[in-house]
Symmetry: C2
Subunit: 663 residues, 2 copies
């Protein structure tokens, strides 16, 4: 049961696709005050749990922190970080009362979930122009499913996108890409994709290729594809200002860029230097920008990642002018009134500055809308531009697409990766915890940069993180320029890496099947234990295990130098370890608490009581997987319904896609 | 058995007090190369564990990271941080071979402990001028004890320093301090100390008092002392350049400041603006600077904390000159060659810059020594200045003294706090893990800023952290200006905070007794489980429990929203919980793995099999504790030897200080 409340004049985000009538009176589960912007408050009991918020910091249970929906390019995901790249304003309160809230508001929104006071939830924003959806249901899981039905079917990538991918900001020349392809193929570590970060472009110009390094790009795409590897280029939000650059010139001519108050095109510096932002909230401009992806699909490209679309800003000419005087005052007279701390703040404040976000405009259905009021919709609509274009380009074909920034609604057009994380052990756990939260908000195709993007990775970190990555729909190892190289073949004892990636491919028929079922049935792929075992008093506290699909539980090791970990079983389960020699250990464990040994080169999972899953022979790329005669593991006498399609087209409802396998 | 190897011409740090003869030949447990600076390498087996490094990042087992001994003022203790404030170059390798290494080298030193390759330890530094001590022993614990005997008895504070202290950067006026004193006394939360951060000074000038706020400081010290609370002021390393300021003028006149190569006094900006650094490595200057503490002890002060003594540098005139041109070039022409990332790097690089550290000199026994070659000795010798002065001032009396920066050797003169941490849950665990590592290096009086210094703390974080702080010799809640106020009385349900601090006072007779025994016997106060249960195969993996003293094990909760935790018992133990109503739950638990419930307002500990500990009635300050008829908890029929003295003087060896208590 969903109640929709309207406050003021909301912006139409098109996050919700279901038709929901405005509530006629009724309570909203808490107090709403409109005295100073919008403020929703309600009491929290000691045992209440709060779920949701998609891409956000901290636990599966969101209690005890203050989260701010404000899409931000933020490179250090420390525990006190309030805003990530996405804005997913859906929460479920579960306990003494159980209800869901979706606040459809595309600007800055604060969720104080028992932070200022442990016993109070408050949701606040500056302008009381929003839709508030209140969802009643028996359980949080039921509420999530209702919400998912409200917001439309989740994005489904092609099957190759469930293979392993390697990425690094720093690959520049053909030789760089060939070295990576060879590193994997020679070592027989399975791989399906190599990602192209910003250096493949000419001067960071969207939809161009570096002329010196890629004179005949289609031939190079073919060359790599012949090794059964797809190249996946990045697309950035900002369009370089450069005379003669077609995208820039078309955008200016047609008025497709975001504008300043005076009507001139807004200027912001990003990787290419000064750029304009395509006005992706304007349907015409969105169509125009989306059609540009064809420049690359025509050359053989079948997938993309959209980046810098919060949109990130390094600085603006206006910002620089404003900061200059103070900064220069310090450098003229360091012992004067301006301190170097001020200078630090000023220089850092040049980037992603609120003032800049309040100084440009979108054109939406004849209305001019100031950017800060719809800030959280930019990445969503950039990715929607691509998604809508792919639909026009080839309505039968699936393209790979994921984005850094997002808002609920974007889940229909693409996945997300979890942003620029760090080579920190704590980020393995953050990766795990974000999975179910994102699933609640519709984002199923997701994963973190395995091994960590920034900072230097150690071999054991990468191994443990990859062993979690085995289970994330997007499985990509990605790292930043200037950090230690972390491709699987860079470390000693490469066979351990091969083994872990091979387990991904062996499990891929099952993982793909469960992903597809979740997408097609508006369900979650990764669930908190409490969603599956709602009567279990301890399950609700478990923050480092997940139920994946309907059959398995995962419990990765995420602490350095550990040889195992504690695990909680709400019921008897089959403890499965994929051993480095290719064998599979199975051991029945009773319900309760256990300490289990898990070596650095083993991949653990747990099969739920009475269930089984298929395991294929490994293959070096997705297409080579043979699913005709798979081994079944788990409980004897059980059966599993496998979903399998060609992975390319959209014939999802064909009954032939489902078949029953017996163990 | 200790072997001492001499390479080149080491600087005499005076870290080691024992007389140890140079080794006659023999192996050093690994390969030493002097081809390019100093490089020690040895193989690590899969199961080898490496202990030590004192104040350092990561686990009790130091494997898997690259640590750099390079005292640095560093505000964000993220997982990838290589250098903290101290330099404690002692490690123990335990496993296939067991040996200890102390590298007595006062400049930058790198410990790559299985990071670059998991199977290799390497220790490197630029100049091959050092002492290498190799310690053989049966167990890591035995090696630690040998090392501790080499470096002299650890600092012993007065007993009041085992009480609870409240601090915040931001207390400015008498009213601020009175408010804190009242907040504790009115709420009956025990307290013994309030710390004075930099704002008590006049313009951040060492040994001065703000004239407006503290016109009659001795009277104010008395006023607070009448409430049984001591004021503990901070002392910073840099001496403000200001005509008429006595300390500055004396230092200049006598040549007691560090000098540039041209002989002029070195200038660095810190809190007061431009300052000079007292040359604490020069014995004469050290004595002069130490004697200045008398300016405050004469006004009733009995304890200090030394800060900014890495020494931290915000910038130097030379650094500013060098950066100015590039920074200004960006602001003149943002689209030019200099990017805002360059500017960021330049502005941040003004602080704690290597070039600055290589541009000033100490005068040591007639020799001029460039600072960067002895960088890690500054905090040590600043604190030694105070310690030696106290000894002259009143040889019978103990003063409270702890420092931010340190080197092995400083442990004889003061404790340390663990630096400017964050209000992060992960820092509770970091706090716990640093305790035994610091103890290995001689630092017994230590603790972290409870609740976290930077970032905003939540009520539950402070409660859980304080429940660990109950057991740290230095128990202080400290926070930074600009963050949420986190004094115990700022939060709802203040009785939970009162309870936790009361448990500290109830346990104080035991904790003090164990501290004193550890200090007097060159032993550890906090030990890894493996040191006490060397035969237990699992104990060596436990990174979130400690043995404290000889009788108890601690296992605090360090994850948000958790209602308990897993704990490993190497043997049967008595699980004790101090309940919020003042009662004490005791439950015998068998050896093995357990999940135990621990509520937010409970303080847990475990008593080892066959042992007991005394518990006093609580008191609101240390002096009011009644130890005449304490309750004994733990195993019936056991006994405990209590160490108790007046806590003021140094009559440590008096047999009357020890008495046997029976349970």
């Amino acid at each position: 049961m969903v109640q929709k409340y309207v406050y003021g004049t909301p912006f139409e985000t098109e996050a919700v696709t279901a038709r929901i009538d405005r509530a006629k009176g009724g309570s909203v589960c808490g107090e709403v005050s409109l005295d100073d912007g919008f403020c929703f408050t309600c009491a929290l009991e000691d045992d209440d749990v709060v779920y949701g918020l998609g891409e956000a910091n901290r636990g599966i249970n969101k209690r005890g922190f203050c989260y701010v929906s404000d899409c931000t390019d933020t490179p250090h995901h420390t525990e006190d970080l309030q805003s990530f790249y996405g804005a997913h304003n859906f929460i479920v309160v579960s306990g003494s009362r159980t209800f869901g809230l979706f606040v459809d508001y595309p600007s800055k929104l604060t969720f104080d979930i028992g932070f200022t006071r442990m016993d109070r939830l408050s949701i606040t924003c500056e302008r009381a122009d929003l839709y508030l959806y209140v969802i009643d249901g028996e359980t949080p899981y039921d509420i999530v499913k209702q919400f998912r039905r409200m917001i439309g079917r989740s994005y489904i990538p092609p099957k190759f996108a469930f293979g392993f991918g390697q990425s690094r900001w720093g690959y520049r020349t053909k030789e760089d890409f060939r070295e990576v392809a060879e590193g994997y193929r020679k070592n027989h570590i399975p791989i399906d994709m190599i990602y192209m970060d910003i250096d493949y472009m000419q001067d960071y110009k969207d939809f161009t290729l570096n002329e010196e390094n890629f004179p005949d790009f289609p031939a190079f795409v073919r060359e790599i594809k012949e090794q059964q590897i797809r190249l996946i280029p990045i697309i950035d939000a900002g369009v370089k200002i450069e005379d003669g650059y077609e995208v820039y010139e078309e955008g200016v001519k047609n008025g497709y860029f975001c504008k300043r108050e005076d009507g001139s095109d807004f200027v912001a510096a990003v990787w290419p230097g000064y750029t304009h932002f395509p006005d992706v909230l304007n349907p015409e401009a969105r169509q125009w920008f989306g059609d540009k992806y064809k420049l690359l699909t025509d050359q053989g490209i079948e997938g993309f990642w959209n980046d810098m679309n919060e949109p990130a800003i390094f600085y603006t000419p206006e910002g620089v002018r404003e900061a200059a005087e103070k900064v220069q005052a310090f450098f003229r007279n360091p012992a004067g009134e301006v301190s170097n701390m001020d200078v630090d703040v000023l220089v850092e404040g040049l980037a992603n500055n609120e003032k800049d976000y309040a100084s440009f405009y979108h054109q939406v259905n004849g209305q001019r809308v100031r950017h800060d009021k719809v800030h959280n919709l930019f990445g969503y609509n950039m990715t929607r531009a691509a998604g809508e274009a792919f639909e026009r380009l080839d309505p039968e074909k699936r393209f790979l697409m994921f984005s850094r920034s997002s808002y609920v609604g974007m889940h229909r057009y693409g996945g997300i990766w979890m942003g620029d994380n760090m080579s920190w052990w704590s980020h393995i756990l953050l990766n795990l915890r974000m999975l179910p939260s994102l699933n609640m908000c519709g984002f199923l195709y997701t994963g973190a940069d395995l091994g960590g993007f920034n900072a230097d990775a150690s071999r054991d970190l990468v191994l443990r993180w990859m062993a979690l990555g085995v289970f994330t729909p997007l499985m990509r190892n990605h790292s930043s320029m200037g950090t230690r190289e972390q491709e699987c073949f860079r470390f000693e004892r490469v066979e351990d890496f091969r083994h872990i990636v091979e387990v991904r491919y062996r499990l891929l028929p099952y993982l793909y099947s469960e992903y597809m079922k979740a997408a097609l049935e508006d369900d979650m792929y990764a669930k908190p234990l409490a969603f599956v075992y709602p009567q279990d008093a301890h399950a609700v506290q478990v923050e480092d295990q997940l139920i994946l699909g309907d059959e398995i539980m995962i419990a990765p090791v995420y602490t350095q130098n550990a040889k195992g970990r504690y695990v909680y079983l709400p019921e008897e389960m089959m403890f499965v370890k994929f051993m480095p020699d290719g064998s599979i250990c199975q051991e029945m464990l009773p319900a309760g608490h256990h300490y289990v040994d898990i070596a650095l080169n083993e991949v653990p999972l747990f099969i739920r009581k009475g269930k089984c899953i298929p395991v294929a022979e490994t293959a070096e790329y997705v297409e080579a997987l043979d699913t005709t005669d798979m081994k079944m593991i788990g409980y004897p006498g059980s059966s599993y319904t496998l979903y399998e399609d060609d992975g390319i087209h959209k014939d999802y409802d064909n009954p032939a896609n489902r078949r029953i396998l017996k163990s």
